[in-house]
Symmetry: C2
Subunit: 162 residues, 2 copies
DNA sequence: TATTTATAGTTACATTTGTAACTAATTGCA
DNA sequence: TGCAATTAGTTACAAATGTAACTATAAATA
């Protein structure tokens, strides 16, 4: 009589087939792997790494601009920048015309050095991850992610407007 | 002379093209939207919702089994189960043969009621999200997620073994 | 010019989550 | 049987992150 694991209240719902769950699982698995490169080896949090990545490519952005470009929250960015400055990785100088803004740069010595060490590791991980896919699959993946991102933003906007 | 935003330290790296970042962004956007349905309307955290979803489909699982099935961590599951019990949504009875185990069930009244309310909302959100994709794209998405998940687990295993 | 409004960034509080240490119960094995 | 090793689940501590309130500066407007 032990059918209790089968009585499903007459609703078919499998978490492992639910897209939000699968996306979350995949993202977490990937993050876990990639973060080894910067968390354990360089003592950077995910947010800190993203700030470094953005500043390496776009020196001189302010915290707000970093935030926008990385779709991150205001507060984590502020905190990450503080820590990066404490560690001597980021330099923060007052803006000449607007004293609210603080343009940010990787420091010439430690900051860019770290950037040059970490980026190849990140790219290597990505390469490894994608080696399971064919050229066509990769192209498809890029298109699907883009479509889903746009769709999710649309749905969220609709929900927000009731 | 303002080329500072272009000096990229001779490394091409765009965060917004980096797969781990895009996956994280997509997952967060989706989670944010879907969580409105259970966080704001029913006061459930993501983990709590997942536990409810699993128990609705598989009544009688223990916390460890829920954890395995949902690929969640031990501690969050324990805490979620405690809260769900406090809220009268989950029932926890000692196992007859192994007193370490505590089989879990949604309560007949509140628990299953909640389950029946939330699951359609979750499925509706998923439907809305996927409405942007064709049948073929959906099939491709499922295959790609599966492949990437397997690939990420492989890479992580390799990295863990040094 | 004076006053309101908006913006950049920080700080305070609460919530969530992970790591590690812990308790209680069971299993394995000498 | 008796002791060591596992396992289920909880608790304690630390780190990360979001919301809201706050400070300082700048822009808008009257």
């Amino acid at each position: 009589m032990n059918q209790s694991a089968v009585k499903n209240l007459n609703i078919e719902f499998l978490l492992e087939e639910f897209l939000p769950y699968r996306l979350s699982l995949l993202s977490n698995t990937v993050s876990e792997g990639i973060s080894v490169a910067y968390r354990k080896q360089h003592g950077l949090s995910v947010t800190e790494w993203r700030v470094v990545a953005i500043l390496g490519r776009f020196p001189g952005l302010t915290a707000s601009e970093v935030m926008e470009r990385g779709a991150m929250d205001k507060v984590p960015v502020s905190r990450a920048v503080n820590k990066l400055q404490e560690k001597g990785l980021v330099d923060r100088r007052p803006h000449s015309e607007d004293r609210r803004r603080l343009p940010l740069k990787l420091t010439a010595a430690k900051g860019t050095n770290l950037f040059h060490k970490i980026v190849p590791k990140a790219l290597a991980y990505e390469q490894e991850l994608l080696s399971a896919l064919s050229e066509d699959e990769l192209a498809g993946l890029n298109r699907l992610i883009q479509k889903l991102q746009a769709s999710a933003e649309n749905v969220n906007r609709m929900v927000a407007d009731h």
